[in-house]
Symmetry: C2
Subunit: 329 residues, 2 copies
């Protein structure tokens, strides 16, 4: 990829495995190569071997750092000086804030007023300017577009961008390099950035692997979009998985999901809670409800499992208020 041809980070185009490889080279020594955990408790429940890719242990506490850093690094110098703006329910915000700090790029972040306190605080702690909005009355995309126009900032969208998708795909690349071929890869799905990036990597690194996205029943736009082939939306869905309250797949991610993903399944709120708790108790890992979506699919039997199968599960993030956790349980 020639960075001069892709100066505008919002320009839609497709993403190849070569883009994921290039992103991995850029992220080397900047992002963590997150560990892969196993758990006898989950192996027993799944009747196979489960490999957890621990993106909750990534810098800023989620996979989002991968895509944000990859995108910011490819801005022209002049744009890096002016800065970037993004909108996010939380994890992408922290990711852009830290990537901006590391690269000297001023970052402005549009966040909902009711975003988890720990995420607001962390975003500010990384030195970003936070602009709050009311999820019920305003559209974050509009606010982002306004700031972009008025301040000359580059928009770094949370998922619908080829550089972001390529960055997120490095997570599955690392996982498969460590585990070897898998039979099944389960990935949380909100806007589809992580899912499509991981699918692109898995297609090449583990050709026989079935790639399945997981979203909450209460925010099943991606599953409906996948099944009908027509982009479906959802508005302010009521789910504890606050990281996937996105309105729909995107212009970049929807075609990639249709092309590279085998299925999208949904899980109940109860299954998400159970998975969050079981991960907490048995792997000793703090995983936020959104991050536990793929594990919930295993527990709920939302996907057909071959006995003895090798299953990759992406734990996408771990940013959760302790107060919020306790309110949930």
């Amino acid at each position: 990829m020639n960075s001069r041809e892709t100066a505008n980070v919002d320009e839609p185009r497709t993403v190849s495995y070569g883009d994921v490889e290039a992103a991995a080279a850029r992220l080397a020594n900047r992002a963590h190569r997150t560990p892969v955990f196993t758990s006898r408790a989950f192996d027993e429940r799944a009747g196979g071997q489960v490999f957890f890719k621990c993106e909750n242990l990534q810098r800023t506490g989620s996979f989002k750092f991968r895509g944000a850093f990859n995108a910011l690094l490819q801005l022209p110098e002049e744009q890096q000086r002016r800065g970037v703006v993004t909108y996010s329910s939380g994890n992408h915000a922290q990711a852009v804030a830290l990537a901006g700090k590391l690269l000297g790029v001023p970052a402005t972040v549009v966040m909902p007023e009711d975003a988890p306190r720990v995420k607001l605080a962390a975003t500010r702690a990384y030195g970003a300017e936070v602009v709050l909005y009311d999820r019920a009355k305003e559209e974050r995309e509009e606010i982002g577009a306004k700031l972009k126009r008025e301040r000359g900032l580059a928009l770094v969208p949370p998922y619908d961008n080829p550089h972001v998708v390529a960055g997120q795909g490095t997570s599955a690349k690392e996982l498969l390099e460590e585990t070897g071929a898998l039979d099944l890869l389960l990935v949380p799905c909100g806007g589809g950035g992580l899912l499509s990036g991981c699918a692109i990597a898995a297609r090449v690194l583990s050709p026989g692997c079935r790639i399945v996205g997981v979203e909450p029943e209460n925010a099943d736009d991606a599953a409906r979009s996948f099944q009908t082939g027509v982009l479906q939306t959802v508005e302010n869905p009521d789910t504890i998985a606050d990281g996937v309250r996105t309105p729909s797949l995107g212009r970049v991610t929807f075609p990639l999901v249709l092309r590279h993903v085998d299925d999208i399944v949904t899980v109940s709120e109860e299954a998400i809670l159970r998975a969050t708790r079981l991960l907490w108790e048995r792997t000793k890992l703090v995983v936020e409800p959104t991050g536990a979506l793929a594990a919930a699919a295993l527990l709920e039997g939302a996907v057909a499992l071959e006995p003895g199968g090798r299953i990759g599960v992406v734990l996408s993030g771990g940013n959760m208020d302790l107060g919020r956790l306790c309110a949930l349980f």
Copy 2:
């Protein structure tokens, strides 16, 4: 060490680094080689480099598996067939239960009625018989001795045993093999098994390293014993660190602590809570309050820190009811 000479696991004797090495060889591929985590948030607070040895990620969720497995493996065959008994506030119980299951040794565990629910359930799930007692009215040592006598069981004490001490020392051995020399090693202290084992290993592997035990202010018997050189006791201390509610250091561990440890410091209940929470939020690790003791010493400034120092911190366990956590905060 010749196992035929040490058939009785309660026989007191001293422990050398050679015993720790022998234990490490026995534990290879049976215990996890637990990971070492770092955290920028803790580095900043400590003004140095902090290395967390994650014994919360050990089998059964604490370091206790190391000592229990090492002790059971050295029983004569005849005794292995008859079985073992132990008493424990929780983590040692699970450790003996799993070690017994893996080695085919029937395990009976004496546990307080008010032990954390998750620990009772896990001990039973590993196939051990659980005998409950009332902490306010009964002495667990007496109940254990009675079962030993009546059923011909071997007693595997939670800390006051050379094989147990040698097993626990493998934790510091692994840590130092990974980090190289350290300036300071902080280790939680209850009965002193983990502390003395780690000190024996650190003396050899990092000769200049200052070795400091950490216990709650509310259960400061080891600190007082260390300072006076005379064994002090404490009765049913009121601390959230339920793993170190032990009455005193032991016949085996007290001399080892006096000989190999540089200091024992205490931390407040508030500092233990703050450390538990900060570990939770910043490292995404579930660490029980007892397991957070050494991290609390860093946060509370209970030990003098050299700027830029390299500090090892043993996170000793992660078994905690979610309900209990929420009640604490």
